[in-house]
Symmetry: C2
Subunit: 168 residues, 2 copies
DNA sequence: ACGCGAGTTGAGACTGAGTCGCAATCGCAT
DNA sequence: ATGCGATTGCGACTCAGTCTCAACTCGCGT
């Protein structure tokens, strides 16, 4: 929870491979821990540019790579284009519900699903390293607005398909 | 199974909205049903360019959009960049195991997971429209080659993280 | 069979996200 | 202070996908 913990992880990570904790990396790290939501790389760039000092796009991406690699930050392909990043609480993990209307991202964790995943892997002799599991649809807040109209139209468009189908 | 079935679905889909079944759309459709694997848009372009007639990149994408929209083809974000497409057997659905080594894509379907998904949605008042669920790792064939070395190194790189974590 | 207009196509310009190369600069162990 | 590897910013670049638009088709109505 306390930023210190992850900072020291990051610091150690850098040290271990002879990298430096520069002002830019610090700034990025701080900005990242100033909030908790999911974010995109360019978003971070803007945030840093406006309030703090200048930092180049390349550096953002490079630093984000380090953070992802160190396990502090997660990189997810959520929408149609680009990546989204999110802080990872140590040891924790969750999947996503993504609203097509408002873009809201809801995190969920279902142990039973995780277990079943493991079973699937075993069945195929597959050694899982990471996974991504996302459901797209309409969130509680947006449902009233959308109601019958679009949603049912979408469902009707694909005859015989009642089940959730893969996308994103 | 027989292409006819999906062709008529596609035809109906087009008709319904006053679109035409042009030679290009046909060619693409045929090429698509000539095989069964997952494929990328540009791959299709090459295939068509070499054996069949010329067809523009724009048309490939446009037609693929139609096919996806009609429910015949699925669009998935599987790797690091771009989309992958796959034929959808009517009513069927599956998720993916993706090998980081050889790129192989294994399809799986686990009803219990699907049910749990529904439960999660209910819990959050979320109306799911589509979902994507992918596990990345090393497939059975590649495991011998990779063994301890990389895999265990990767696991060790993130201390305290034994569980599968989100990515892709 | 013919004509016409909506629908479609190809070429290439364009976009957005992310990456790369490189010269200038910085951080830190000595 | 010195030196050298690590780092930065810039801008050029790539790649996938989208858009524009003039030229061309399809297929319905006659």
């Amino acid at each position: 929870m306390k930023p210190h913990r992850e900072l020291s992880i990051f610091r150690k990570y850098l040290e271990k491979r002879g990298l430096k904790l520069t002002a830019e990396r610090q700034a990025l790290f701080d900005e990242l821990f100033a909030r908790h939501e999911h974010f995109e790389a360019d978003e971070l760039l803007v945030r840093l540019r406006t309030k703090h000092k200048k930092i180049s796009r390349a550096t953002i991406y490079r630093t984000l790579d380090l953070l992802v690699d160190s396990g502090i930050v997660g990189r997810v392909r959520i929408g149609e284009s680009g990546y989204r990043y999110e802080r990872l609480r140590a040891g924790e993990h969750h999947d996503h519900l993504i609203c097509n209307e408002c873009g809201r991202v809801i995190e969920f964790f279902e142990p039973a699903i995780e277990n079943l995943q493991d079973e699937v892997c075993e069945k195929y002799g597959f050694l899982a390293i990471s996974h991504s599991h996302q459901l797209r649809g309409i969130c509680r807040q947006c449902r009233p607005r959308v109601t019958s109209r679009e949603a049912s139209a979408a469902a009707a468009a694909v005859p015989g398909r009642l089940r959730i189908l893969p996308t994103a």
